[in-house]
């Protein structure tokens, strides 16, 4: 069913006088009236996956995986995005995800347009300002899955929830932004939301015209019941070399995660242990190097490590991944990813993912 405002705009557009043949359009196309409609986009992703080991038992994680030894086709997600300006003061960004688990609102927030002093305020449901990948939607990643550490130490999918986020673009001569957020974050075991405070300082510095360095420092504290807390810390580094006269770009990116529980016995972690190992303090991270060769091709390698989980022996799990991306156009991608997983005690396994993705509708921003 088309919303009333869309219907009225479409009707107004279709009923608009059509320019006479031969009249060159002056200034803009007759479809310009449609510009009042929010930017609408849909991002779909599908995959074929083959795992040589029992991922669900030995290396449980969210995302793309199949039963041991059986190639599987997966519908991963369809993300519907609506973005637009509400009034002279606010804009809205809404992202609704449809997946085999059902429909959910990924993000739905309002942002101010014109606060003074470099300030902005975000209110609604949004990803917590913590780390780098936590703030990005999966279709903007170079790889077809998330690093292990993000799911094991932070949250199974993303750290986010309803709340308020204050952003301050400092007056320094480089990009320096401070974010302070208070949210109710949902644990992935379906339990009640807990109050979480997070802070992030993100800096981008142009070292030379083709070379940009990004450094982010994040910290978060999540309430875990009376007197108990989960403390999280993150350091993210980003270095991109992109000569201005082409599409080629070399990007080095990495994040370190640390988690510490205060005042809560590990045994109380409950179902979260499925994804988050033994529920004790832990560290992990990843480093990846990606090479965008040209408009059509890109490659990457990633190393990641995190506390083991599920039936795996306690210790550190390591994983190497390599991906090749083919972009038939700016609106579709076919990726082949191969990963080798090594768990404590020497157990290992392989995974291959063929990942297909498309973007329909409004032209989004190029990820940086």
């Amino acid at each position: 069913m088309i919303p009333a405002f869309l219907a009225s705009l479409l009707a107004a557009t279709l009923l608009a006088p059509t320019p006479a043949p031969g009249d060159p359009p002056a200034g803009a196309a007759p479809w310009a009236r449609l510009l009042a409609i929010p930017d609408i986009s849909a991002v779909g992703s599908f995959a074929a996956v083959h795992d040589s080991y029992d991922v669900a038992g030995q290396s449980p994680r969210e995302g793309t995986q199949g039963p041991e030894g059986k190639p599987t086709f997966l519908f991963r997600e369809l993300e519907l995005g609506l973005r637009g300006v509400i009034d002279p003061y606010l804009r809205a960004d809404l992202f609704i995800a449809f997946s085999p688990e059902g429909a959910s609102v990924e993000e739905a927030y309002l942002s101010t347009l014109a606060l003074p002093g470099g300030l902005a305020l975000k209110a609604g449901l949004f990803y917590a300002p913590f780390g780098r990948l936590n703030l990005l939607h999966p279709h903007t990643w170079e790889f077809g899955d998330a690093p292990l550490a993000r799911g094991r130490l932070l949250a199974a999918e993303t750290l986010g929830g309803p709340g308020l986020d204050l952003l301050w673009l400092t007056p320094l001569p480089w990009f320096s932004e401070l974010q302070l957020a208070v949210q109710s974050t949902d644990p992935h075991d379906g339990g009640e939301g807990r109050l979480t405070g997070s802070a992030k300082l993100q800096q981008y510095i142009e070292l030379a015209e083709p070379l940009t360095l990004g450094v982010g420092l994040s910290a978060a504290r999540r309430g875990e019941g009376t007197g108990a807390f989960r403390d999280l810390a993150n350091l993210d580094l980003f270095l991109r070399f992109r000569p201005v006269d082409g599409r080629a770009a070399l990007t080095l990116q990495g994040e370190l995660y640390a988690r510490r529980f205060r005042g809560r016995p590990p045994a109380s972690i409950g179902p979260e242990a499925l994804f988050q190992g033994d529920g004790r303090d832990g560290t992990g991270g990843y480093a990846q190097l990606t090479w965008r060769q040209n408009t059509w091709l890109g490659y990457g390698v990633r190393y990641d490590r995190a506390p083991s989980a599920g039936d795996a022996a306690p210790g550190t799990e390591q994983r190497w991944s390599a991906v090749g991306n083919w972009y038939p156009s700016e609106f579709s991608r076919l990726a082949l990813q191969v990963a080798h997983d090594r768990r404590p005690g020497g157990a290992d396994g392989w995974e291959a993912i063929l990942h297909l993705e498309f973007v329909m509708g409004a032209h989004g921003a190029h990820p940086f």
Binding site: P25, G27, W31, W174, E177, D245, S329, F331, A365, F368
Partner: protein, 302 residues
Amino acid sequence: MRPTMTTLLLALLLCLPAPAAAALRVVTTTEGLAALAREVGGDRVTVTSLSRGVQDPHFVDANPVLAVKLRNADLLIDVGLELEVGWLPPLVNQSRNAAIRPGGPRRLTAASAVQVLDAPAEAVDRSAGDLHPGGNPHFLADPRRGAEVARAIAARLAELDPPGAAGYLARAGAFTARLDAALVRWKATLAPLAGRKIFVHHRTLTYFLDWTGLLSAGEMEPRPGTPAPASHLADLVALARKEGIKGCVVENYYDSKGDELVARLAGGTLVRIPGDVGGDPAAVTYEAWLDLLVQRIAAAVK
């Protein structure tokens, strides 16, 4: 000696941007627009371009460092027609400068000043490639439209800086008079070549062809933003041989392997041109850039 809090604060203050000078801070998305703003603004403006002339303006990174340049902009001039759709909107949001938002008092979209070509007359979808549904944004390759944009910049600067209004309008008048004189010279060079055909890589020369009388025989991209399969290149070679097409024109930011192949197999000439002002060491001004386009393309089709 241990630094005191005062010295630390002083060091921090030295890092902060200098207090606003009298000049208007103009930020443009492309070097071509920056060149026009400099011509019109003279000493009363400082002009910064977010992209370089050697850069494909469709694919600039949405690097947050660029948002800092927009933060204190008194005027943002963009091309429009979705040329910068992949990178400018997030930068404007990040800049916190509400006045440079689309439709804002300190935003000038140059496309609003010119008559646009290649605007689809009916609904289109992306099976036709990565089209600009509002029309072709490469209008600065036409000096007549360049003059219109210069006049629009002068008018907006005059609104924002009334004490300088007379100067802006006078400079715009002098500049467009120079362009008119150059146009006579360029047309004299190109008039004998009217009707000759060239291949282009992308639809970047639609406006250039419109004023020069040259014709496009086709594009290397079978559809905008898509790579050329071998069969398409073979078709172009066959067409070139049949119709005697000599020039394959490509901006120097594109991968030109396909263009080179077609030029070689068809016995033609590959012409690399700067995509914008600053895209070649000799293209230091708007007029110098157009001079280069005329010289190189004329030499190829003679």
